[in-house]
Amino acid sequence: MEDAVKGLGADAPYWEALDRGELALPRCTSCGRWCWPAPFRCGSCGGWTFEWVSLPMTGVVYSWTRVWHPFGGAEDLDKPYVTASVALPQADGIRLFGLLEPGDRAEIGLPVVGRVCKTRPFGQETAAIRWTAAS
């Protein structure tokens, strides 16, 4: 549960799913809207309950950057590394950040599949998603 403590808003089930190697995202049980970041209340309909839906870890690259500078906190990532924002059509386009490997195929629109990995930002281990080209 340590990861959940370091998370954001009401996202504890997201980290619990990643720890099982899975992806889950919240959907409002009142209006059916996918919400991200995970809220406590649905700002669209006022609902307070969410269903965490397991989803296939697939998506499309929405944007990316190849990072060359040795910024503090990312010492465990070999430079250059590619960080990507990946849109999930199966969740109304919610976007998740991840690493894209190999990075030389980085391109907006690239279909990708993800798997859970561990990284060590600022020396503290956390779960993250590594995306690779779908084909």
Binding site: S63, T65, F97
Partner: protein, 388 residues
């Protein structure tokens, strides 16, 4: 129903800047700030003890009550700051100051920002601290440059904004900075080959697409228009100011509806409505640009161009004073004048309208000040030479 007009009843009457190389300030941060405040008071012709209000932004660490002994403050009646760790609150600080003056909570307000690395550490780290969470740090999103690079890539690759616009904005900043004795780049124009071959930071940003950090402090004194008329300098009036965020902007996982935006759509709409002005009325722009692409996105958001016309508008020749139609960052901006978290671009807005800029725009009447782009909360203001 038309939007209510912003009351033009406050003016900037004093400027003070102390700027040094990062790590090079001769005094600690508080001492540097006190010097800049006293500079601004001397410029205005007022006693530092008469300042009764203070406002800052970007998590400045200098709580105004601590400045009272040095300034001889008679009475502190009002102090506050704008939320957010970045420069998004720059213009908003003037809005707060005007609100305090118009409502009688203060008479003479110092709008300030001070930054000395030995005291406050690296600015980039302080700004990033507002964003950090495991979703982003775990995948290398650990610095403002990386976050802004992702948005920039979307701007270039998806929205097809020409790469040339970024280069031209940077080149214009250095053109002005090279001619401004107060700029860190004074006497040095940008070598285009050096720009194009400078080391990659986070694609698409090379080194010179990124703002530098400086030690220093900047101060602007705002007071009522009535009092301003009796002071030493030509009053520069606050014509309008807006801050905030539109729906679908500013969440910590950056699921922004308009990801490649700088975040100003709603702020710009309100600014134009409350002033009755439009982009073509603006004579000169002082643009907070943390990174080149965010500066271009800010110009787009304010309506100076769109994704289709940006290549015609954001051109080097068009951006330089006095001949360009849209002179931008006439002091050199954050990129080339210096970067005390953006306070320098606000100072240049006033210098330009006073007629004391190193790169004057003839007969400039309205100057837009756009705060930090890409921040969760952003802000913009318009300054004017007219008392109405």
């Amino acid at each position: 129903m038309s939007a209510p007009r912003f009351p033009v009843s406050t003016a900037v009457v004093g400027l003070g800047v102390r700027q040094y190389k990062r790590g090079g300030a001769p005094l600690p941060e508080q001492g540097t700030l006190v010097r800049a405040i006293v500079d601004a008071c001397e410029d205005a012709g007022i006693d530092p003890a008469d300042i009764d209000g203070f406002v800052t932004y970007g998590d400045d660490k200098n709580e105004p009550v601590r400045l009272m002994p040095d300034l001889g403050t008679r009475e502190l009646t009002w102090s506050t700051q704008v939320f957010g760790g970045g420069g998004g609150g720059l213009a908003a600080a003037f809005g707060l100051a005007a609100g305090a003056i118009i409502s009688g909570q203060a008479t003479t307000v110092a709008v300030f920002r001070a930054l000395v690395q030995d005291n406050s550490g690296r600015l980039s780290a302080a700004v990033m601290a507002h964003h950090l969470n495991d979703h982003i740090t775990g995948v290398g999103l650990v610095a403002p440059a990386v976050e802004c690079a992702m948005r920039a890539q979307r701007l270039l690759e998806h929205h097809r904004v020409p790469r040339q616009c970024l280069e031209d904005l940077v080149r214009a900043a250095y053109y002005h900075g090279s001619r401004n004795p107060k700029a860190i780049s004074y006497g040095r124009e940008l070598d285009l080959e050096a720009y194009r071959s400078s080391r990659m930071i986070a694609e698409p940003f090379r080194l010179f697409d990124c703002s530098r950090e400086n030690d220093g402090a900047g101060v602007l004194i705002l007071t009522s228009a009535e009092r301003a008329r009796d002071l030493r300098q030509k009053p520069i009036y606050l014509k309008g100011v807006a801050q905030g965020a539109g729906r679908g902007w500013g969440d910590l996982l950056q699921n922004d509806v308009h990801y490649a935006s700088a975040g100003f759509e709603s702020v710009a709409r309100r600014l134009w409505a409350q002033t009755g002005l439009k982009p073509s009325d603006i004579d000169v722009v002082q643009l907070y640009e943390n990174f080149s692409a965010q500066g271009v996105a800010s110009l787009i958001n304010h309506g100076f161009c769109d994704y289709e016309s940006v290549g015609e508008v954001v051109r080097y020749e068009n951006l330089i004073a006095p001949t360009g139609k849209l002179p931008v960052n006439t002091g050199g901006g954050n990129l080339a004048q210096g970067f005390i978290h953006g306070i320098g671009v606000a100072v240049e807005a006033v210098e330009q309208l006073r007629g004391t800029s190193a790169n004057p725009v003839p007969d400039a009447r309205y100057c837009l000040l756009a705060g930090g782009p890409g921040a969760p909360t952003v802000s913009s203001a318009i300054f004017s030479v007219d008392a109405e």
